[in-house]
């Protein structure tokens, strides 16, 4: 994390002339990177699941399908196929301390959400329901939105098990 205070940081901020949604996301990613995410405790509502029950055939609402709307930038194995859920790691694993971020469109409310793709770490790799979606994904020079890397890298166990897709906010207000 020391590198973020480096002498290039100020320069790279200046270099960004336009504030697009995507670059804002990239920055959010950068801030999230290297930070243990302390998510607020909010009512645990599985709206996606409820909708999925009603529209069983729409894979955009099936959280075990790669087409599920929150997975628009997920490269990895779905925790929903590995004993976890859309926002919970399977037993015996731990939540990654760092993460990458996607911006995904929810077809149910027409809004864009910021999705934190936390890896679940420790033990073996799940190797079930492998997905590779890359909307908004960028190479490692935009680390916060890069998904070709093991986001368990900062945990005590670097083993990668699977990936959850947690809503961490809405990207709506930056559209203007």
């Amino acid at each position: 994390m020391q590198w973020f205070d480096n002498f290039f940081e100020a320069r790279s901020r200046r270099a960004a002339q336009s504030i697009s949604r995507r670059s804002a996301v990239a920055r959010l990613g950068k801030l999230l990177v290297g930070t243990a995410i302390l998510l607020p405790v909010l009512p645990f509502d599985r709206i996606g699941k409820a909708i999925a029950a009603g529209k069983a055939k729409d894979k955009r609402n099936d959280d075990t399908a790669c087409e599920y709307w929150r997975y628009c930038a997920l490269d990895g194995f779905l925790c929903t196929c590995c004993g976890g859920s859309i926002s919970a790691c399977p037993p015996g694993t731990e939540v990654s301390k760092v993460t990458w971020v996607g911006t995904c469109h929810n077809p149910n409310d027409g809004k864009d959400y910021l999705i934190s793709y936390n890896d679940c770490c420790g033990g073996v790799t799940c190797n079930r329901c492998g997905c590779n979606s890359n909307e908004g994904e960028r190479p490692g020079y935009r680390m916060g939105v890069h998904n070709d890397i093991n986001w368990c890298m900062a945990n005590s166990s670097n083993s990668y098990h699977c990936t959850v897709a947690a809503v961490v906010g809405t990207a709506e207000s930056t559209k203007g």
């Binding site: 959010l28 607020p40 859309i86 919970a88 037993p91 961490v168």
Partner: protein, 383 residues
């Protein structure tokens, strides 16, 4: 500027998100780690050697009703796993090389909590565990759950004894020419092992778990002419084995020496002529309440076909020794049965990575099949 953007982005990770939440239809998630759900009688434990990367073998835990995978446990290098009698812990006999495929070999028994799947303890043992395909009998606990016996191979055969309660290695016991661990249920001070000379060796242990006495049974099988599969189905003090050529052999391991019952054939003379034989890695299962046994069978069997997948699964009644059902085999190499009421039979195919489920309350009735499960799994245990 950065902070301004973040606030606009409404990121719950960074700032309190109460004001943000009202704009969104999907609430902000709290990321958690699950425990296993309460166990059912149909919970399955599938041991996968993962041959192409066997330094990194694994256990898959599967809900035998939904056939959803509900958890995994890392088994290290060709690890072997057993449940404690009270189902509270998973015990793993394994090893680690300090640099993956070189360096120091560290031998240990890993203890996992069976609800959280968290590593609870690591008990150091001699680095000799059998680096082999998962089979029941590579690690077993005594009936009281205190002692743990683990099969070694250097390739000389020996058994490591661990005191699980004291959390320490107790003894290494030479078992030359013998293989796999069989434990009685009525006593906790001994184990038996099958020997290549057609006998069973019983090793009696002292209070600490050290070897006190070794006794061999009379010869009851011929490893050349009609070898026994080492994966036996247990009921109380007895193990039921099947042989390469289709005979059933039950052995009681509660005494100072093991006692074999008279063998009986699974196959008629005509079936034997057609080459019907048992096959696979775990070819026989037994339902405790009915005593019925279930065997994966293939036709046109011959010397060397003993790992062939099942063309059919046959069910037998123990009292009459008669076949009561035969159903398609789903390419099974591993058969397991649940306990108690409403029995189910599970048939796993090592080749197809598929799992077929049968209702075994009457005749075998196929309920469902799903895949894939694992890479090269050869052992299936039921809760």
């Amino acid at each position: 500027m950065l902070a301004g953007n973040i606030r606009k982005l409404c990121a719950g990770a960074i700032i309190a998100a109460a004001s943000c939440y009202v704009h969104a239809d999907v609430p902000i998630d709290k990321i958690t780690v699950l425990n296993l759900p309460p166990a059912t009688p149909y919970r399955l434990y599938l041991s996968d050697m993962a041959i192409s990367h066997f330094v990194d073998s694994k256990l898959m835990i599967i809900d035998g009703e939904s056939l959803n995978v509900i958890g995994h446990v890392a088994l290290g290098m060709t690890g072997h796993v057993t449940l404690t009698p009270d189902r509270s812990e998973l015990l793993v006999s394994t090893a680690y090389m300090t640099k993956l495929n070189r360096g120091e070999r560290i031998g240990q028994m890993d203890v996992y909590d069976a609800t959280t799947l968290k590593l609870k303890a690591e008990i150091s043992v001699p680095p000799k565990h059998s680096q082999s395909m998962p089979y029941r009998g590579k690690i077993r606990t005594s009936a009281d759950g205190r002692l743990v016996m683990m099969q070694n191979s250097t390739p000389a055969s020996s058994v490591t004894v661990v005191d699980r309660i004291a959390g320490k290695f107790v003894a290494e016991i030479a078992t030359p020419g013998c293989w796999m661990i069989y434990v009685p249920q009525s006593v906790s001070d001994r184990f038996s092992t099958l020997c290549g000379d057609g006998t069973m060796l019983t090793v009696k242990l002292d209070a600490e778990g050290k070897p006190l006495e070794r006794k061999k049974s009379a010869k009851f099988f011929d490893a050349d002419d009609d070898a026994l599969f080492t994966s036996g189905a247990q009921l109380d003090d007895s193990y039921t084995f099947v042989s390469f050529k289709g005979n059933v052999q039950t052995v009681n391991v509660a005494g100072d020496t093991a006692v074999a019952e008279a063998p009986w054939p699974l196959v008629t003379a005509a079936e034997a002529k057609a080459g019907w034989r048992p096959g696979g890695y775990q070819p026989v299962a037994l339902h405790d309440k009915s005593g019925r046994i279930f065997v994966g069978m293939h036709p046109k069997g011959k010397e060397g076909s003993h790992k062939a997948p099942a063309k059919e699964i046959w069910a037998f009644d123990p009292a009459s020794k008669k076949r009561i059902a035969r159903v398609p085999g789903h390419h099974a190499t591993v058969i397991a049965a649940s306990r108690g009421d409403a029995p189910r039979v599970f048939a796993y195919s090592t080749d197809k990575s598929s799992l077929a489920v049968f209702d075994a309350s009457g005749k075998l009735k196929h309920l469902k099949t799903a895949a894939p499960f694992g890479e090269l799994a050869t052992q299936l245990d039921v809760q």
